[in-house]
């Protein structure tokens, strides 16, 4: 598909590697306008009236799916959710046919969450509608990366030169890969730490500094991104016990004190309290976790707006 590069109109949003810094900028500035709409009494504008968006989710999701759904609805689009557990997928329909089927219903965008890396790229090759990757396996989750960037900037921080610490399960994390790609592109100094069994082999090739102790990554950090630990990783033997994980690798108040006083703590959610993040840290003033959720809607409004309209930045939307 030949899609123009001058704007985001008609563009598939598959990962943050393939967007430029200028494009990040356009999305974040548009999101700021969108956030104003969210704060109105009547949070609805007709910008995407007559557009239809399909949320095609092959994995369970609460915040991402709801957030995309509300984003579309606030902009006046019709949004339909397909969860594959109750669709033809259980009858054995292949991804190509599912995509072509929803395309035939004249949808304008497909927001897709899928457990396999590259599924969004595959969908983009098959389909004409805009594909927005809402997470493909351990590869990418671009709207999460953008909302994290938005949240960091909202805290008055410019990414360039900042020390960013990513803690935990990088191996299976699309959020980690997305943020590493975006943050290194923005000139931040990215550090990762966690059990070596949960860090990809050759992770240094991504341009990050690896630490075996989380304390070294946290020391002087401006931003800490705590990744969710899935409990099945422990069942697969990748670390001995939740207890040891929390004790050695979890973010608690004592470790948080090693960071800059104004450190921003991010977590893509849902949190495992007492495992990768302590109760206290999750609710402390430095935690921007609920801001992330709110900003998620604004960023997704911006993505839908920019890809489904001319793709030009807006100053004031009415």
């Amino acid at each position: 598909m030949a899609k123009a590069n001058v704007s985001l109109g008609g563009r598939d949003i598959l990962d943050l590697d393939s967007l430029s810094i200028e494009e990040y900028e356009m999305i974040l500035q548009t999101a700021a306008e969108m956030k104003k709409i969210m704060k109105r009494d009547i949070k609805k504008v007709p910008s995407l009236r007559g557009k239809s968006i399909i949320n095609l989710f092959y994995e369970p999701s609460t915040r991402t799916r709801t957030s995309f759904e509300l984003a579309g609805k606030y902009l006046g689009a019709d949004v339909v959710n397909i969860t594959t557990a109750s669709s033809s997928v259980v009858k054995g329909e292949c991804l190509r046919d599912t995509i072509l089927t929803v395309q035939s219903m004249a949808c304008d965008a497909i927001v897709m969450r899928h457990p396999i890396e590259g599924a969004a790229a595959y969908a983009a090759e098959v389909a004409d509608p805009v594909i927005i990757n809402a997470g493909d396996g351990a590869h990418a989750h671009p709207s999460q990366g953008l909302l994290d960037m938005f949240t960091i900037r909202e805290q008055g921080k410019d990414l360039k030169g900042l020390k960013m610490a990513i803690l935990g399960d990088v191996l299976y994390s699309r959020v980690a890969r997305t943020n590493i790609a975006a943050w290194t592109k923005m000139g931040a100094d990215v550090h990762v730490a966690g059990p070596m069994t949960l860090l990809p082999h050759d992770i240094e090739s991504l341009g990050v500094t690896v630490h075996k102790r989380v304390e070294d990554a946290i020391e002087g950090a401006d931003v800490i991104d705590v990744l969710r630990i899935q409990l099945e990783r422990q069942k697969k033997g990748l670390f001995p016990s939740p207890r040891e994980y929390a004790r050695i690798f979890g973010l608690n108040e004592k470790r948080l004190a090693l960071a800059k006083p104004d450190v921003t703590v991010l977590h893509p959610g849902p949190m495992n309290r007492g495992l990768e993040i302590s109760w206290e840290v999750g609710y402390c003033d430095n935690a921007a976790i609920r801001d992330e959720v709110q900003n998620g809607v604004a960023v997704r409004m911006a993505l839908l707006f920019l890809t489904l309209t001319g793709g030009k930045q807006i100053e004031n939307i009415d």
Binding site: L95, R96, E117, Y122, P200, D202, L206
Partner: protein
């Protein structure tokens, strides 16, 4: 019936020939190779400017018959071989049912003789059903013409069973072919573990999964004295291990595929299911080690591991795709383009590894233009330019990572037992 192939550059590593010569074929066998042959013939083939080589021998292919004919069958698979310049192929036993008894071996050989376009050798299973539990009836299969034995597609996970197999069939001078990948280390992996997998998020398989398995099977070869042939070697660690055992005089041979010599894991970065294969495409340091191992003789054969799949099986998400892709119709073009015209291998090395040496490993009467040998001949135009177009393939498996590749060099005629089975890319009617 006499055919005279005139003025070609005859390259026959089995006789150390590399010269402009004529080749006379009569009644299906090589009659004479000489500087100038003046005998009358039914057909004179002008090979001026072309390479005349012993027919290519590909000891690692999948014909998918019986049971998996949606992927390939003996007719389409042997047509693909003929089209690609390959005169003898050996087919792997991971069919449905598995080729694990003599009646299936006989059945394939008979059907191939009746309907096939090239010579077909059959590789029987080491274990019943390739389940890795009990030995299959390998001696019985040998007596019905099985060339070698393998549980290809699976590593024989039990060291005891592989040792027993080596003792049992080694006594009958048959070769065991090892699909040497330790399954547990990579059981959740879908591509080579390295910088690319770290970046694109696809779970990786560490190269040591291959190295460990290769080391084990080399040790078993040493212990039992049986001949073990390592299939599709793809890691630098594995070739180092094999080199060491060969130096000690252990009866180990190995093969490398065309794709492992020419592609890296960067090809997986688009998540194309055409790049999913086992062993996985590896990084450039591995590719360079494989090329060096071909040069120094550690690697004995270049194969395709032609593994066709039905389109609907490959047209899926990366992880869901079965491993493997088609290779018989692209091997000569890709090898000449990426390894000959780039001065990595000489044409003599290529013909040695794609014909003479694999024939020798399995004691096949092939891979040579000696007088009295079957007249299996591949005629190659080193400079013919063409583009890989899977819509023109004879194989049923259309998926290839080389689709659209611009190639220089192609087999332009294939002769099996004195008869042309392919001319100018077109398979001849039987």
């Amino acid at each position: 019936m006499k055919t005279l192939i005139k003025n070609g550059r005859v390259i026959d590593p089995s006789q150390n020939i590399d010269a402009i010569m004529d080749l006379l074929v009569e009644d299906g066998v090589i009659k004479e190779v000489a500087a100038e042959i003046k005998a009358a013939a039914d057909e004179v083939y002008d090979a001026d400017g072309l390479i005349v080589a012993p027919g290519l021998v590909d000891v690692h292919t999948h014909l998918r018959e019986p049971g998996l004919e949606a992927k390939e069958d003996i007719v389409t698979g042997t047509m693909a071989a003929a089209a690609g310049g390959v005169t003898t192929i050996a087919c792997m036993p991971n069919t449905k049912p598995v080729i694990d008894n003599s009646i299936i071996v006989s059945g394939i050989k008979e059907r191939a003789a009746r309907e096939g376009y090239v010579n077909v050798e059959v590789i029987g299973a080491i274990s019943k059903g390739e389940e890795g539990k009990e030995l299959a009836e390998m001696i019985d299969m040998s007596e019905k013409g099985a060339m070698a034995f393998s549980d290809d597609g699976h590593f024989v996970n039990s060291p005891r069973l592989f040792t027993l197999a080596a003792k049992y069939i080694g006594a009958f001078d048959k070769v065991l072919i090892s699909h040497a990948i330790e399954p547990e280390l990579g059981h959740e992996g879908y591509m080579h573990e390295g910088a690319v997998s770290a970046r694109i998020g696809v779970p990786g398989i560490p190269a040591i999964a291959e190295d460990i398995a290769v080391a084990r099977d080399c040790l078993i070869a040493e212990y039992t004295g049986a001949h073990v042939h390592i299939a599709h070697v793809a890691s630098k660690g594995a070739v180092d291990i094999i080199r060491g055992f060969k130096k000690k005089g252990v009866n180990v041979t190995c093969e490398v595929t065309v794709h492992h010599l020419t592609l890296t894991d960067e090809a997986c970065a688009t998540y194309s299911s055409a790049t999913r294969v086992s062993p996985p495409l590896r990084s450039m340091d591995h590719v360079e080690a494989l090329r060096a191992a071909v040069k120094d003789g550690t690697v004995d054969a270049i194969v395709t591991d032609h593994a066709p799949h039905a389109p609907e099986e490959k047209d899926v998400e990366f992880r869901y795709a079965p491993c493997g892709f088609t290779g018989l119709e692209t091997s000569v073009g890709v090898v000449l383009t990426d390894l000959y015209h780039t001065n990595i291998f000489t044409i003599n090395e290529i013909i040695g590894k794609m014909s003479t040496e694999p024939a020798n490993i399995f004691a096949l009467k092939a891979g040579s233009l000696k007088v009295g040998y079957p007249a299996d001949v591949t005629i190659i135009d080193l400079n013919k330019e063409w583009t890989v177009d899977n819509t023109k393939f004879y194989t049923r498996g259309k998926v290839t990572p080389f689709q659209g590749k611009h190639c220089k060099g192609k087999a332009v005629a294939t002769m099996v037992a004195g008869k042309f089975v392919m001319r100018d890319g077109e398979v001849c009617k039987r």
